[in-house]
Structures are given as structure tokens and as C-alpha cells.
Symmetry: C2
Subunit: 362 residues, 2 copies
């Protein structure tokens, strides 16, 4: 089975991922160790993991640990980027993990033709979002790929640790730029184990399921380099507001971003795909199909903190009490309020974000 | 026709290079402009060029110009490396060209499995040779690839400007590491035109004929990037001391290095391949086959400065007056003396070389 990390498909055959590639489900032990009342667990954000136990064991023993992820700075922070950021911040707060955050500007060039200067502008905005979400910059290393020579050099070194046949087997026939992006990503994933950062350690990489090929490839290289194999968690994929595909910057109207102004956000949320029935009558009778509702997912994964309020929302849907329009009207204010508060926090973080992003230029 | 830049073959079909790839010969105009009595011309070191006129025109108009080359730091400076170095120094002295010199440690890793630390040691020695040969470090930029983020970032950017089909057409089926080395080399070749170095300018790249694929590829990328197409000169290839292949670090006994001690150098020179006949009698009668003689080439390209002395050497060979052993005995002292003087100069340059090589670490 080959998974396309660059595609827009939502469906990933989970059974095969477990069977062929050794992913594991989130069992009771893991739930307890992460905290049953943490949002990750309580809101079922995690689907699977690989070697999370090893990471947790190191964390619990007080060893130096790191979490690593990143963003392609091709636009505003959307709910998918937030999902990853929330997870990083969770591990930073709960286990004291150092956060490594790669701003993949070279990949943005290769994949989207975005100049490094444009990427830099987006990066500052993205980092301000990250800080506003609660990342502690003092226990983090945030960098742009194009400024981080350890990562770029590693991409070349790792290029010598693989073959075209391996790259083709994992990723299919791709362009030189895409193969090089993959090697850069491995450089990102293994950077926390660089001697400048204290050498080999347990590193956890929170990703979407579609990114698993990168993890397998990075583990293969880590093994060859005598490093510890990075662990990974797989979170749910944010659906496009239109419902069919994953949320992606390639479809601006399909994503809610943390920078959307009130009017835009309200407009997007009013037209978001729900689990509504064909008629009001039918819906009152059968209830909404909540498993299809992107609005509910957004509230569950991001905006409604209160457990009671969320169960009420669910109950009012499946019982047929509220129609989709009524449900939205009831909850939209909370989302818009959250965005407003976030944007105010973010504004205060812009200067610091700029300093962080420009630090690499020295 | 495909040329293998990594092979050890000496023969390159010059006719095809001229015809298919537009190389030009060294005509009277070029000879005059470079100086008929310069070693490049007087000793027939140059075989061909591409756009050298454009470079010379810019030089003659007093425009800012650069020459660029480099070395794979996988061992000692040998006579092939010296040939390129001499040419760089010539353009620096005669036209005030700024010298860019890439120490290809990432390529040394990809191609030879050499660690960056080992490469660094060799690099210091190589740079000391370069300085001892007369390079003015004040008008030069010497760097290791692994420390030069502009070059590494460029390799990724240029990766997005090409296709696997193009890479295969030029270089054949290669490993990811080798394709990446090629993109790094293009990064090296185009670095003098980076905005940090004053932007687009005429750049000349002295290479061996076997390196022409890199030049064609670099020109293609330069065109796409809106840069000036780098010019190139093609010098003779130093033959292995054994005569059959090109001088290469892959065969230590086939190369004379600038670090060989007197005993080693003498031993190598005594067994160097010459144009001797089967018997002394035959040689006295027919003369030596000087066109095959590596010892003569070495003297002509590197060690005998005096024109008269060189013609006498030639005359005593082809006339059959001296046998090869006698000829070697006559001239070997001059070579060993040159090496001794060079090594003394080099020793004094080691500290400066170390500073230059380590400057990139900051």
C-alpha cells in the first residue's frame, strides 16, 4: 500500500496501516498516561501511534525529550495546523518536552513556487499564532529550513543513505524537488538528535495519518545513522469545510484560518457542511447525521471547551431537536469569540515572532 | 553523447563536444587577450571554452567579474587540483577576478563516504596549498558546502527547476546523492551571482572537459533564474602517473600530490609512465614518443618554467639523445626542489587556512 502525503484524500486504510506498518491504537494505558481528561484523549484526537510508549517512558523517567513538527508557510494557520500545534504544546506543558518547529520554506518553494521572502512573511504570522496558542518559546527551537544548515546538510547526507528505488517504492515517481523535500523533512525530524541539541533522544512527531510515509522513511534513516527511532502519533484529519477532502491551503474556502476576520469566519461557518437531512421534518424525526457534521467536529476538536456544552450540542443534534441552522446560530458566537480573543493575543506576539523567525539570519 | 563526470576515462570526444554542445577552440584572439606568454597559452593548457569572450569583454571593461571552481576534499592536492588552482590564480592576478572556491564536503560524503570532520581536515590542507600557490585570500571567498546555506538552499530551489527526466538525460541513472551533488554544484557555480555578492555578473568556471555536463546544466538553471550564463574554459586532463586514465584520488600511486615527501615523490617520478621505446638502441635511433610521456607533461604543465629548458628537454627526447632514465635523472631535482619550496610556503599558510575554513562555522 502506498499513501500519498501530498494528496487531498481523506480516506487512509487504517487496517492496512496497523497491519502492514505496525501502527498501534490508543489503548487504556496510553489514555491514562496522557490523561483521560486531556483534550487529546477526551476529544478523541488521537487515532494511532508508533512507539509512543517509549517516548512516554523516557518522559516519565525525566529524560530529555523532544517533540517535533512543522508547517509549510504557504498561508495562514488553519485548523489542521492548529491541531498539530495544540498537540506540541500539550507535550511541552505536560512533559517538559522541547519543541522543534520547522518552517518548511524550501518545501513551500518546491511545492508551491513560493519565494523565500513570501514564506518568511507567512512564517512570522504562523509563529505568532503558535505563540498565541500557548507555546513557550523558551523551551522551543523554531527555524526556517533555508536558514538551518544542519538540516540542509543532513538532507544531502541522508541522500547518500538511500536509493532511487527506495524513494520510488515509498513515494512513487516524483520530481527531484519532491524527493529533496522528503530528505529535508527527515533532516527536520532528526534535528532534535543532532549533537548541538544534546545528541540521541526520544523524539515524538505528531502527524496526520497521511504523513506516515515520511515517518517510516525517517526511522529507516535514523537506524542507519545510529539515532533513536522517532516515535509518532497520528491525529484525526481536519475535514474541508465542504466535507469531502482534507482541510488544505489549496482550497481557501474549504478552510477556517485563525486569521479569518469575523465576517469571513461567520460566512464560512454558516455554509460549512453538516449532517443535515433533506427536510426539516425528516431531521426532527431522525435527528442529524452528526458523524458527517464538520461543524460539530470543529467545535469538538477546537472551540467548545466545556464537556457538558458539547454533549448537549450532540444530544440536540441526534435527537432532532435542533436543525443545523439553529445549532450553528447557537454556537457560532463562541467560535467567533474564540477567534477574536486569539487574534488579540496573536497581535501582541507579532514582534516576538518576527525576532524568532529572523534569528536564523544571523 | 553523454559524458561521465565521475568516470576515470581520459578520452572525451572533442569533435562531438564542439559540434553538439557548442564549445569553441582557443583562437588567436583569445591567445592574445590571455597573453601569448602566459602559461595557459604558452604551455597549451587550454583546449576549449564556452563564452570566454564574454568574460574577457567584461574584464576588459573593468566590470566586476568572478572565477569559480572548487575541490572535493577527499585527500591531498594533486597535479589536477593544481591545474585548476593555477588557472584561478591567473585570472585573479591578471583581471582582478574575485575567486570563489567551493570545498565540496557534502559531495565527498555522498561520493566517498567521508565524514564532514575528515573533510574539514583535508580542506585546511587543500586551502593552504591554494594560498601557497599564490591565491590572494583578500579577493576570494572560500567555503565548505556544508556551512554555506545559500548554496544548500539553492540546491533545493534548483531541484524545483528541473525534472528527473532532465537529470537522467544528462547524467544517466544515478543515486539520489549524486543528483543532489549535481544540484549543489550548480549552487556553487551560481553563488557568485547571489545578491549577497552583488548579483548577476560574468563568471568563468575553469574545468576539465569531463565536467562539461555540469556546466550545461548550470547554464540551463542560470537561464531559468534570470542570471548570466556562466562561461567556462576546459583545460587538459592530467594523466595518471601510470598513463592510462586521468589522475585521480581513487588511485593514490597514480597521482603526484603537493604533499608527497621527497622520497615518495622521487619514487613515483622514477616509475612514471614515459614514451620510451622497447630497447635503448631503438630509442637512440627513433627518439622517444614524447606525446605519450607523462613525465614530460608534468614538467610542461607544472614544473619547468624556463621555455628554453623545456624545448631542450623535448629535443633531447625526440632526437633520441637521452633515454628516459637519463632524462628523468636530469629533471627530477627541479621537481623535488619545487615541491620542497612549496611545502615550506604551505606550512606557513596552515594557520590562515584553518581560519578560512573555520570562518564558515560562525
Amino acid at each position: 500500500m502506498r499513501i500519498d502525503p501530498w494528496g487531498s484524500e481523506l480516506a487512509v486504510d487504517l487496517g492496512k496501516l496497523f497491519e502492514e506498518f505496525g501502527l498501534k491504537g490508543i489503548d487504556e494505558g496510553i489514555k491514562k498516561r496522557l490523561g483521560a481528561d486531556s483534550r487529546l484523549i477526551a476529544r478523541e484526537l488521537l487515532i494511532a501511534h508508533r512507539d509512543l510508549e517509549l517516548f512516554l517512558a523516557a518522559a516519565e523517567k525525566g529524560k530529555e525529550i523532544a517533540v517535533m513538527s512543522g508547517i509549510k508557510p504557504s498561508g495562514d494557520f488553519h485548523l489542521g495546523s492548529k491541531l498539530t500545534a495544540d498537540e506540541l504544546i500539550f507535550y511541552q506543558k505536560k512533559f517538559g518536552a522541547k519543541v522543534f518547529y520547522a518552517i518548511a520554506d524550501l518545501e513551500a518553494y518546491a511545492d508551491n513556487g513560493l519565494s523565500l521572502e513570501e514564506s518568511k512573511k507567512n512564517a512570522i504570522s504562523n509563529v505568532a499564532d503558535l505563540l498565541a496558542l500557548g507555546l513557550d518559546a523558551k523551551n522551543a527551537y523554531i527555524y526556517r529550513q533555508s536558514q538551518e544548515r544542519r538540516v540542509m546538510a543532513a538532507a544531502h547526507i541522508y541522500g547518500a543513505r538511500t536509493t532511487m528505488a527506495t524513494l520510488k517504492a515509498i513515494y512513487g515517481e516524483r520530481s527531484p524537488a519532491l524527493y529533496m523535500s522528503v530528505l529535508l523533512q527527515v533532516g527536520d525530524i532528526l534535528l532534535p538528535q543532532h549533537k548541538d541539541f544534546g545528541g540521541p533522544k526520544q523524539v515524538l512527531v505528531p502527524v496526520g495519518l497521511d504523513q506516515d510515509p515520511h515517518m517510516r522513511f525517517a526511522r529507516d534513516i535514523a537506524f542507519k545513522e545510529g539515532l533513536m527511532l522517532p516515535a509518532s502519533t497520528y491525529h484525526v484529519q481536519m475535514k474541508s469545510l465542504k466535507g469531502e477532502t482534507k482541510m488544505s491551503k489549496r482550497d481557501p474556502m474549504g478552510m477556517l484560518t485563525l486569521s479569518d476576520d469575523e465576517e469571513t469566519a461567520a460566512k464560512k461557518l454558516k455554509s460549512v457542511f453538516t449532517g443535515g437531512r433533506n427536510t426539516a421534518e425528516e431531521q426532527h424525526k431522525l435527528g442529524g447525521e452528526i458523524q458527517k457534521c464538520v461543524f460539530y467536529e470543529i467545535c469538538k476538536y477546537h472551540f467548545i471547551e466545556d464537556e457538558k456544552k458539547l454533549s448537549q450540542m450532540k444530544q440536540e443534534c441526534v435527537s432532532g431537536k435542533l436543525l443545523c441552522g439553529e445549532c450553528k446560530a447557537k454556537h457560532i458566537t463562541e467560535i467567533l469569540g474564540w477567534l477574536k480573543t486569539h487574534q488579540a493575543k496573536k497581535k501582541k506576539m507579532m514582534k516576538k515572532a518576527q525576532e524568532i523567525v529572523e534569528a536564523g539570519e544571523k
